[in-house]
Amino acid sequence: MNVGEWLLFAAVLLVVPILTAGTIRKIKARLQNRVGPPLLQPLYNVVKLWRKGETVSEDATWIFRGAAVINLAVVLVVAALLPWVSFKPGLTGDDIFLFIYLLASARFFGILAALDTGSPFSAFSSSREATLSLLVEPAIVLSLVALALGAHSTSLGSIFAYGAAAGPAAAPVWIVAGCGLFLSSLVELSRMPVDDPTTHLELTMVHEAMLIENSGPNLALAEIAYTVRLTFLYGLTVQCFLHAVYAVAPVGMTLLAVLSVLGIFLLAAGTALLETVTVKLKWTRCPEFIAYALTMGLFACMAAIFRGGV
């Protein structure tokens, strides 16, 4: 295995998440005519939290703190498995369904941790988290399966491998699947229009309210996990779009690598724009939004079937 590749990947994994999170905040602030925090603010936050002491609910069990660790560990492992940048070194076992269920593990412990404190707010949000994940999971699965059908394999590495150009017929599958994944990512990451990460009312939040009892290093772990998750989900979307491009006009590896990273920032900017112009949906309307993600997944599958069949 190439050590250089690994080093590069590790560096990207260290840097990009923080920058992505920072980018969203910064651009959003700019769009709202605010100066906004520095680009590295997420890093500062984490460092600050890392140094702080920790307060834990007296009702909590070991699950509460264990979950934070498991959560980040899972996210990091997923980041290592998932080809969210074009130059990620290959690993065996990078399977679609493993990816889905690893994410589910993180969610499982997240929900348990939220319930552990007995706080009604976090229980509310964890219930919503479960609902959202239930709705969004098939969308992600179907989008990825559509891609896998093209590759005849469920290994993410081989699905997202850049080989010979597949021709323009492959592009629609990638684009539609990419759209599906992007919409799903918004839900998965509790971004607008499903959830507003910056609201101040615990009752309306999903992700932030789940962390309401976390503090100090515990919260820092959660923040890091969130940024990493944000990054690799966006990265995966970007890869889809890049593949669509690659299918029509094959480009060099270096360019692809640059585009992969740039694409993530681009999506971050897009998110910021989206969050500026849209409002959070009423909770009961969320399924309608997620239905679009699922539809994208279904379209992708249909496109893949017909491409394979015809």
Partner: protein
């Protein structure tokens, strides 16, 4: 005198069971590589065929599962029986449990139809006796009756199928049956439906949520962990490892499996009785196993070996897995029951601190059943996904591809629902604050009970980590059927190690530092004053978003009543009520039973007591017989 009796009941009887279980494990390992047969000596004969047993690798797998679960049940039961003291006599309990376990083993080993039915019924009846163990409870009686009814319908269907099969193949031995041909569709459907009733596949699952919760928890573990698998074993035995089946059967099983998976987990989510929840989740898992079997049959029929192998291994593996983690969870529920004397989630909560071991094992079981890697549930579920994916890739039939993808999507929903369901189970039962006095006084259960759960939890983990090896072992078993066994593998050990390593590092880096200086404080209460237990989310409120989303299926109704002079801003009293109802029970089985009752009631009118009417019947009968005689 009494003391000796206690010793016998507390140590010798369970010890004997444990010993026998060990023998079972040994026998299972023998059966892995050798085939052994046994026929009962002459005076014993069942009318049409002798009592015949056969131990082969397929039987060995289920025997292994049975032995493992029985072993932990033997550890768990004495402590659990303490909790039931006065409601069940240990003698009765152990007698029926022995009978139950022995008959399950015999069903697995049965080599011909009558031997199978014989032990099958003994199995059903002994478990029914255990369901109705609490002879004074009407609820137990109702549950046992529903269970007996279901089991009788299953037996009737099986009997019809067996008779028909015998008519076709002129043999009672399973080895002489071959369900490959198109003329076997009739008996195949009957047999599959019979097994479906017993396995609790949709729409025949309604007995499960009655029988499992009512039985003592170790028995629920046996019933859910092993017995319903034995029904699926029947399908495997007759179809999968014999000759395959027609496409219709494969599609039927796939259909039933898919619907069961969704239906089961959906209803599991909205239950408030912990064991009912687990029972419904068994419906889901049985559906998953059925999916595996269906995939196998499909692949076998279409000549697509990779699908068949994935399906077969998935079905066997998931049977084993579900047997382990569902038993674990039922034992956990039993531990709660023994400690708190209730299984109602709305009276539980906060048990995690009092019962840390049970919590750990219950979380392990829940994680396994939610198919979280690297536990065993994921390994088998992944194989099902793989099988479905292979269908989508290889089958070439556009309709089948579409269906396979749809099922993948549905399984994803099932995964999401299972996650919600088991986070609810763990979260509401073990976490937060105690919702009742009994829950706040909970104690960790006795060491053997903890040990029993620990054993199963470790097995879950081992099977998960060792899934490549287990998969290979199982595919060796089915390899007789294929030219090149397909062994899909995932590096679960590496994954587990990576997870463990990263998590360990993170813990050391981030949390270990603050472990000593942790500040304990109450949960965030918006500054209003301390939270009390009733402010917590309940199981109902946790499940409400999903339940209201899927209202039509669940027949979910919610009514909230807010009263007070200014009820908008200062509600004085809030009453919320949520209810749901099984569509099948209210729309299908209810009317069916009502029809039988109606018929019976009208029949009873014939027997009105008047001798004149009776004489008239006599006359009418004679005349109609004469008319029939003249006409025919």
């Amino acid at each position: 005198m009494l003391k000796y009796r206690n010793i016998i009941i507390l140590i010798l009887v369970p010890g004997l069971l444990a010993l026998l279980s060990c023998f079972g494990v040994a026998a299972a390992f023998c059966g892995w590589s050798h085939v052994a047969g046994w026929t009962a000596p002459p005076p014993v004969y069942l009318g049409v065929c002798p009592v015949q047993m056969r131990l082969d690798s397929l039987a060995a797998i289920f025997l292994l599962l049975l032995s493992l679960v029985s072993f932990s049940v033997s550890l768990f039961s004495p402590g659990y029986l303490e909790h039931l003291r006065g409601r069940v006599s240990p003698g009765f309990y152990w007698l029926t449990v022995y009978l139950f376990i022995a008959s399950m083993a015999a069903v697995v080993l049965a080599a011909n139809a009558l031997t199978f039915l014989l032990f099958w019924e003994v199995m059903s009846l002994s478990s029914a006796a255990l369901v109705a163990f609490d002879m004074t409870s009407t609820q137990a009686q109702k549950a046992a009756l529903i269970y007996l009814g279901a089991t009788r319908i299953a037996t009737a269907l099986l009997a019809a199928g067996f008779l028909w099969a015998h008519q076709l193949f002129d043999s009672w031995a399973f080895a002489g049956w071959n369900f490959g041909g198109p003329e076997t569709l009739g008996p195949s459907v009957l047999i599959v439906l019979g097994f479906a009733v017993k396995a609790g596949l949709w729409p025949f699952h309604i007995w499960l949520p009655y029988a499992h919760p009512t039985a003592p928890s170790p028995v629920s573990a046996l019933m859910s962990g092993v017995m319903i698998k034995i029904a699926l074993y029947g399908i495997l035995r007759l179809f999968a490892f014999q000759s395959g089946a027609s496409l219709e059967i494969a599609l039927l099983i796939l259909f039933l499996g898919t619907v069961s998976a969704v239906w089961g987990v959906l209803f599991a989510l909205v239950q408030r009785d912990l064991k009912r929840l687990l029972a419904y989740s068994s419906v889901e898992n049985v559906g998953l196993i059925a999916l595996g079997i269906g995939l196998y049959l499909y692949g076998h029929h279409c000549g697509l070996e990779s699908i068949a192998a994935a399906g077969a291994v998935a079905a066997l593996f998931h049977s084993l897995n579900h047997g382990l983690f569902k038993s674990l969870l039922f034992l956990g529920a039993g531990a709660i029951d023994a400690s708190v004397h209730t299984r109602d989630l709305s009276h539980l909560g906060g048990l995690g601190r009092a019962m840390p071991w049970t919590l750990l094992y219950f979380v392990t079981g829940s994680a396994a059943i939610t198919a979280l890697p690297p536990l065993n549930g994921f390994a088998s579920k992944w194989l099902i996904y793989q099988g479905l994916f292979q269908v989508a890739v290889d089958s070439g039939n556009l309709v089948h591809v579409g269906l396979a993808i749809a099922v993948i999507g549905i399984l994803a929903v099932v995964g999401g629902l299972a996650l919600a369901c088991f986070t609810k189970a763990v979260g509401i039962a073990f976490l937060g604050r105690a919702r009742s006095r009994a829950a706040s006084e909970a104690r960790e259960c006795a060491p053997p009970m903890v040990l029993a759960q620990g054993l199963l939890a470790v097995l879950c983990l081992c099977l998960g980590m060792g899934s490549p090896w287990v998969g290979r072992l199982l595919s060796e078993l089915v390899s007789g059927q294929f030219s090149q066994p397909f062994v899909p593998e995932l590096p679960m050990v590496n994954l587990a190690l990576a997870l463990l390593l990263v998590a360990g590092c993170l813990y050391v880096a981030a949390l270990a530092r603050t472990e000593r200086s942790l500040k304990k404080y109450c949960s965030w209460e918006c500054g209003y004053g301390r939270l009390n237990a009733r402010m917590q989310a309940t199981g109902e409120s946790f499940a409400q978003p999903i339940a209201s989303l899927l209202r039509p299926v669940l027949q979910y109704r919610m009514r909230a009543e807010i009263s007070g002079r200014d009820r908008r801003h200062f509600p004085e009293q809030v009453k919320a009520e949520a209810g749901m109802q099984s569509l099948l029970e209210s729309r299908v089985y209810g009317p069916l039973i009502a029809a039988v009752r109606w018929l019976s009631a009208h029949m009873a009118r014939l027997q009105a007591g008047s001798i004149h009417f009776y004489l008239l019947y006599l006359l009418v009968a004679v005349v109609s017989l004469l008319v029939a005689g003249v006409v025919l």
